[in-house]
């Protein structure tokens, strides 16, 4: 699908269709650092550094280094280089966001940024920024680690055994596993 068709709210399926190329873009650029990952120096669509700053305001995580947002930002620029519709969306979006932030996005305060971002909720640009972030930032195992998400458990053999329950701040349930069997309620 083209970006122009991006539904106002994120379509998971549509996002997945896009994911392959997003991931390819990320893989192609992941080893490079911002702003070198941006082949485009076209100020009209904003730079990777600009979009990094936008995404950081949109999905703020104080615990994460700004460079984590370089991957989705780089993916945005890379897709703009390949796809005229994405380029148009970013160009229009950058004019709008930077304009509403008083012409200087990175210098704007948090409240201005939040207000500008509130204005794009539900637009195709919002969908593009969100899905790009979801499939890069939130698919990044280093980010998972920072959030306390373990991901794959196969390599550790799962959590079965004595260590399964680590919640020690509540009492155990009054009923527990094993016979005698007590049916739950649909007997």
């Amino acid at each position: 699908m083209s970006i122009a068709d991006t539904p106002s709210a994120m379509s998971f399926a549509a996002t997945l269709e896009r994911r392959e190329f997003l991931v390819a873009a990320v893989i192609a650029t992941a080893s490079a650092l911002v702003p070198q990952i941006a082949r485009s120096n076209d100020a009209a669509i904003g730079t990777a550094a600009d979009w990094q700053n936008v995404l950081q305001a949109m999905f703020p995580h104080p615990m994460l280094d700004a460079n984590f947002y370089g991957v989705p930002a780089g993916a945005l620029i890379a897709s703009a280089d390949k796809d005229p519709a994405t380029r148009e969306l970013l160009a229009h979006g950058w004019r709008r966001l930077s304009g509403e932030a008083g012409g200087d996005w990175s210098g704007a305060n948090a409240a201005s940024k939040h207000a500008a971002l509130t204005g794009i909720v539900g637009t195709p640009l919002f969908g593009l920024l969100r899905q790009t972030t979801v499939f890069t930032l939130y698919a990044n195992p280093d980010v998972w680690k920072a959030f306390g998400y373990d991901g794959d458990a196969w390599h550790i053999g799962g959590y079965a055994g004595d260590a399964l329950v680590t919640v020690d701040w509540l009492p155990d349930p009054p009923v527990n596993s094993g016979p005698p069997v007590k049916t739950g309620g649909t007997k």
């Binding site: 379509s11 549509a14 997945l16 998972w144 458990a153 007590k182």
Partner: protein, 520 residues
């Protein structure tokens, strides 16, 4: 053992379309009883070694991603306009990704027309099978699937997420709370190991502790030498003879070549969107509205349960992802009680997803600190899922798109859902109750998850006593064509509050007996 292959012109075979809970169970039962079966499965044959504990990877690997269209006032039409349903395209069907909660229905849920009263715009129906009759088959399905809390099978252990939900539930006065009824081995059984608590039930169970037809019904059927499974073969059209009985299925294989498989009977178990799609697309001069559709019920009364979720953020760590996806269930709100302002009921189910799904689907418009604070404190979250009974409405339906076709020239399915006021009232009740439960366990804030694409598709070929009220009789046998069967959740007249798979399996066993009795 050599692969079994039946000839395309062997008109003595039963053709089963789909290899999920209904199709593979039916096929296995027929093979065990001496019948020859050709099973057409649109997806590839994977193995547990192919599964990965990675939500996005598994989504791409397993999901039915062929384009569909969602319309109507339900939120999915906005959040996932090309993906009304979240189902699987692989051998094993949706049993690859199901959460493995296996519940029987309650008596009143099978008598919705009599018990729920008259509601505007609702096509309530009683099930044409009595509860006591179904119970016999639920018992057999539970034994087959190894459902915990039945047949002396121990429950699974408590997980972190369940422990939190259980505590909160009891604090607010719920009494029917249990981590039972999983079709997941709590101890090794039938050649499969006990659950490893990997936490990725929805991505294909790498340990094979979870019942999935890929490694249970399918190999059992193959051992009989009477099962010809054809993966990556998509049924395009069902043909019939001059008398109107079905006699062949046209399908396309992985290489794009079309074949016509002769058949003594055809059983469709393609999930409740593809099943009516195939019937409607098989229209002929004899059956201008589609096969089995003289009553105009094919595709109608689409049911998908009401889903929603709630995610509590706690001061102390939870690690909800440690252990099975669906930890256990609060049954109290599934009771019959119209005083709550809605008919039917719902289950609250301890549920966990990973960061990727939490970000992508649970809050599809989420941004800013309201959203990101939950993600970044992932290990302090506990989750509750809603599974509620939605009401059958004639115009909530699967239909064929007028112009838009897939690569095989088959019109893509349009899934239309306008929610009933009852559905909306029930979801509101769930959000309030789930939040109470989570806060009672200590949550300092709660994020409400948006409804997601439906995995519990039902109702689109409802069974009925009278031919004019539905598509099949109580055995899933078409009222109109006596050798055409429906073998999936499509036949459910109402959805109940219970996850559908156990009943799909029970009905498939019952249908197999019926077929063996009546087709000699």
């Amino acid at each position: 053992m050599a692969e079994t292959r039946f000839a395309l012109n062997d008109g003595s075979v039963a053709v089963v379309i789909g290899s999920g809970a209904g199709g593979a169970t039916l096929a296995n039962e027929l093979c065990q009883r001496g019948k020859k079966v050709v099973c057409l499965e649109a997806g590839p044959r994977l193995s547990v070694a192919d599964y990965r504990n990675d939500e996005f990877f598994a989504f791409q690997q397993l999901t039915w991603l062929d384009r569909r269209i969602a319309t109507g006032n339900w939120s999915v039409a906005n959040t996932a306009p090309t993906m009304p349903a979240y189902t699987v395209k692989a051998v094993g069907g949706t049993t690859n990704h199901w959460g493995a909660l296996a519940f029987r229905m309650q008596r009143h849920e099978l008598e919705a027309r009599d018990r729920y009263g008259t509601l505007p715009g609702v096509a309530l129906a009683n099930w044409p099978v009595k509860w006591a009759e179904l119970r016999r088959y639920w018992l057999r399905a539970e034994s087959r699937m190894g459902v915990t809390g039945t047949h002396g099978i121990p429950w699974l252990p408590v997980t972190n997420n369940y422990k939190v939900v259980d505590f909160g539930a009891r604090e607010v006065g719920y009494r029917r709370v249990a981590n039972d009824r999983h079709a997941i081995n709590s101890q090794s059984r039938n050649g499969r190991p006990a659950c490893m608590q990997l936490g990725f039930c929805g991505q294909g169970c790498k340990s094979s502790a979870k019942w999935c037809t890929l490694y249970t019904e399918v190999p059992q059927a193959e051992e009989t030498g009477r099962f010809d499974l054809r993966p990556r073969c998509t049924a395009l059209r069902i043909e019939h003879d001059a008398t109107g009985r079905v006699n062949a299925v046209l399908y396309v294989d992985a290489d794009g070549n079309q074949h016509l498989q002769k058949a003594a009977l055809v059983a469709i178990a393609a999930n409740a969107i593809e099943t009516p799609r195939l019937l409607l697309h098989s229209a002929s001069s004899k059956y201008p509205k589609g096969l089995a559709n003289g009553s105009d019920w094919v595709g109608r009364s689409y049911l998908k349960h009401i889903n929603a979720s709630a995610w509590g953020l706690f001061e102390k760590p939870v690690h909800m992802n440690h252990g099975v996806t669906m930890g256990g269930t609060i049954y109290d709100e599934a009771r019959f009680d119209v005083s709550r302002g809605f008919v039917g009921g719902y289950l609250l189910q301890a549920c966990q997803v990973g960061v990727p799904f939490l970000a992508a689907v649970i809050k599809p418009d989420g941004w800013g600190r309201d959203f990101t604070q939950y993600l970044e404190q992932y290990d302090h979250l506990a989750g509750i899922w809603m599974n509620g009974e939605d009401l059958p409405q004639r115009d909530n339906r699967v239909s064929l798109h007028g112009t838009d076709k897939d690569a095989n020239g088959v019109p893509i399915p349009v899934v239309h859902v306008d929610e009933h006021a009852n559905d909306i009232a029930m979801r509101k009740h769930f959000y309030e109750r789930a939040e109470m439960v989570l806060r009672a366990a200590g949550a300092r804030s709660v994020m409400r998850g948006t409804p997601v694409s439906a995995s519990h598709n039902m109702g689109t070929c409802r069974m009925s006593v009278r031919p004019e009220d539905g598509v099949t009789n109580s055995f899933g046998r078409s009222h109109e064509i006596d050798n055409l069967f429906i073998s999936d959740g499509s036949v459910f007249p109402t959805s109940s509050a219970q996850n559908p798979t156990l009943t799909i399996v029970a009905l498939a066993i019952r249908q197999a007996e019926h077929i063996v009795r009546t087709f000699r």
